[in-house]
Symmetry: C2
Subunit: 539 residues, 2 copies
């Protein structure tokens, strides 16, 4: 019974993922051609962006492209390179499979090893049909590897140009998140007229979204399905064991899409949403108090258990914590640790004294080379557990409050793709390849209308770029999509959470299924935000 692969891997490779019908011409796969739609994308900084990206914006006018017809005269002889950038996400391998399929025998697909760094080093190899069969529907980015190098210096651009020339590249496909797609736009501008550059939207965090043009980045569905199963299992454990409150931190530094989706999938008693906290300007004390009151109210009904979901980046969204940290950064540059707290604002000092001692120590101790505290080092779930425990004791000393904590992160990035991510990414690969064979550059491949057969789009990357203050400098970047408190998904959550806190209302979403009646499920937050009538996708 020994085999190099698990029975699961042997079988998923054989799954034929659904393909957007327009790609089939006489039941054969063929690339699409694209036409500009009436829609132009813009940000508040579009004028400045047009000046910085003269070539790309000049060619695209930031017009959205729609692909609905077979390309009768697709380009031939193109040499296309593909690379992964940033953290892995499920479905990356299927983007490559889609690219390979649509480029067909008349073009060449090359893989770049180990991300943007591999592009600078010219580490490329030819991708064969055999290799694609092997990676089809599998998780991870291990076929190519990935890294987080940003290509931004003159020297780096020259290196890329040399590599393109040496390898006779006609196009590069960059599979990555918001920053990697910004990088794709920058490269498209620098290589304009020589090498086309197309982006593919990847990130498990879900913060690369564009309204109804880009419902979700790939990898989000698989990651949230993995986390949701784990959270659902733990929720199911709580009334079985009847003694623990589990505090679960979920990956996602910049936005709370992951936490929101997992909450919609599982219905826990408490889920914090960073963006709401920032918008309401909630204090840490208020957040702690609201959790403690739920703990006490449930205890009165003899429910001494529950689950609290915490987005990884929450501390950075609590306004008073940011103020405190920056006041301490300032004070510590003038005074020593013992004196620093007496040189910050009264409100800051009060907040400081309300924190557990080990957090106080951290806030005074660790500074990076620039004199800043690395907020990511604060053990968020421990901080919240300890403060809630203290508050519960203040409200009612008799309440039993036993806690456990978890962090779900890395286990969600490299799982085998859900059927949704498998199909979505294969089709994104087909679209990215079609954009190349249609001669386009500076676009991101997108697929919408997932509930009614799909719609292929080319989103002009420069139409998404705005100016943002980063590390004390203005930079032109694609804006991160945060959770909006006026979105249907958030409103749905907000209208139910009191009920979920009052009684056990959890559901167990179970492990994602590649076969059977539940295989075709899309993320609930995506279905709500896009107004889909069902959770099933149709392509």
């Amino acid at each position: 019974m020994e085999n190099n692969n698990s029975p699961f891997e042997e079988n998923i490779r054989k799954i034929k993922v659904p393909v957007f019908k327009r790609f089939l011409s006489n039941s054969k796969l063929a690339p699409l051609s694209f036409e500009p739609t009436g829609k132009t994308l813009e940000t508040k900084n579009s004028a400045a962006v047009a000046k910085a990206f003269t070539e790309v914006v000049g060619a695209s006018s930031n017009k959205l492209l729609s692909g609905s017809k077979t390309n009768k005269k697709p380009a031939k002889g193109k040499r296309v390179a593909v690379l992964f950038s940033g953290g892995p996400a499920a479905g990356g391998h299927n983007v490559i499979a889609g690219l390979k399929a649509v480029l067909g025998k008349n073009n060449t697909l090359l893989g770049v090893k180990a991300g943007p760094k591999g592009l600078l080093e010219g580490d490329l190899f030819k991708i064969t049909d055999e290799a694609v069969k092997h990676i089809m529907n599998t998780g991870g980015f291990d076929f190519l590897g990935s890294d987080r190098t940003k290509i931004k210096t003159k020297d780096q651009f020259q290196k890329v140009k040399n590599v393109c020339e040496n390898n006779k590249l006609d196009a590069i496909v960059i599979i990555g998140g918001d920053d990697s797609n910004t990088n794709a736009a920058v490269l498209a501008e620098h290589l304009y007229g020589k090498v086309q550059v197309i982006g593919v939207p990847k990130t498990i965090d879900g913060d690369l979204q564009v309204g109804d043009l880009l419902p979700v980045s790939f990898g989000f569905d698989t990651a949230t399905k993995i986390y949701s199963e784990m959270v659902g299992n733990i929720l199911q454990d709580t009334p079985s064991s009847r003694k623990y409150w589990h505090f679960i931190k979920l990956m996602g530094r910049a936005a709370s899409h992951v936490a929101l989706e997992v909450a919609l999938q599982t219905r826990p008693p408490v889920c914090l949403i960073s963006e709401e906290i920032a918008q309401m300007r909630s204090s840490l004390g208020e957040i702690i108090d609201s959790i403690a009151r739920i703990v006490v109210a449930r205890a009165k009904k003899k429910i001494n258990h529950g689950v609290v979901l915490i987005p990884e980046g929450i501390v950075e969204f609590i306004p008073e914590m940011n103020v405190l940290i920056s006041e301490l950064n300032d004070a510590l540059s003038h005074y020593d640790r013992k004196e620093a707290v007496s040189h910050i604002s009264a409100a800051g000092a009060q907040l400081f004294r309300s924190l557990p001692e080990y957090i106080q120590k951290m806030l005074l101790a660790e500074r990076d080379a620039h004199g800043n505290l690395q907020v990511s080092l604060i053990p968020t779930e421990r901080l919240i557990i300890d403060m809630v425990a203290r508050r519960v004791k203040e409200i009612d000393p008799d309440v039993k409050f036993n806690t456990l904590n978890h962090f779900f992160g890395y286990e969600g990035r490299c799982g085998a793709p859900s059927l949704f991510d498998a199909a979505y990414t294969y089709n994104l690969g087909l679209i990215a390849g079609s954009l190349i064979l249609d001669g386009r550059t500076g676009y991101m491949a997108a697929l919408t209308d997932l509930d009614k057969g799909g719609k292929a789009l080319g989103i002009p990357l420069t139409g998404l770029i705005h100016v943002e203050r980063r590390h004390g400098k203005d930079e032109m970047v694609i804006e991160k999509a945060l959770v909006r408190t006026d979105s249907p998904a958030f409103k749905f959550f907000a209208s139910r959470r009191e009920d979920w806190a009052n009684e056990d209302r959890f559901t167990s979403p179970g492990p994602r299924q590649l076969w059977g009646p539940t295989a075709k499920q899309v993320p609930i937050s995506v279905a709500l935000n896009q107004g889909y009538k069902s959770l099933k996708f149709t392509l």
Copy 2:
């Protein structure tokens, strides 16, 4: 699209699990009758056990029962209570469903709330067909709840007797691990002639096994499939991100079955097996050195990543650690913390000094009420990471060694059962009910020959009981089944691990599937140990 249950839960309830053919009489479900086989079970303490369990051993003679024929005259009017004992495991709800089905309309099934404690308190309710439909194939023990109360005092036995009389009980089914099944035997003896007691083998740890009579306890398959998916995902992450060694602690205090099964499912570079360490009398330094050498050897091949699996209870299996801890316990009862180390053996003192400072502090600081260190408080994975890091630096200071640590535990106990656990537990329920309707007491329900249609057994609990020193007293208990280094599963692992350490050989077992071609998979260690020719079960 709102619904009280996830689409997954809605659909799994409808799955008809395979049933052992002998239960079908004219395609209707009917209980089995049992016959003694030629096989008698015994331990080294059987004579003493026979004296302590005169009634039960007198009736059973510790003979194994086999159920292969329809019971033509099953008992009627029986009132049967069922309870969960100990930590949850996937499939518990299906045991109840199987019991309910086989008891049928002629008998009554009662649920005991919140485990043995609920039995003492008489917290019982009638289980309806409607309720069973709702819990079918779902995870968790939440339908009844569970607890860890041991019934052992005279007062407790009297309470149970009263509850049995008040509720007119004819039988009790105890769903639990080794200790709970010991408790079932004790209750069977105390209630002999009045109330039958039947045990059902549950534990995710897999340490309740009886050679070819009980291939595995229920819940083990689901838990290890859940952990294996997570470990497989992280393994897949390692060559994608190319920068981390992940140290993963797996639930399972007393035995390493979980770690071994997960290793067989995923093929990581390193998996520690506690029983092997105890048997080889490995020192902590040797264990650390062997991991460090693998890290260095891989780094030489530019593989700066990997996974190390660690069974939760490992520290308790390292002989010299046990010696050190007991020496320190002694020394601390005579000397204060500063002096204690100078009053232990030279070997102990040397080991002590080799440990990271925070572990030294722990070893001196925390003692329970009996003056003993709680070994479970030692942060095993941190200890191993820190010592490996130090050793790697000694061997080759240039080796990159970035680490992350994880603990997979609670998320594996309450997942929806795998198809194996769903079918296995339903059939165990059918067998437990059949034993009751056949008038038996003091048996554990068992199902073997899972690769060729199944075989229903009644294992005399007293035939498994031996005498063990616990907390300084001799106690009669069912022996925990540890990993045997001469078992086919261990030998298979041992013959491959060097290869798995040399190169990335991992496989990703993926999420467990309830539908499709891979749904019927049994644990690999069970298939190997039982000599099954395939990983698929057939019932």
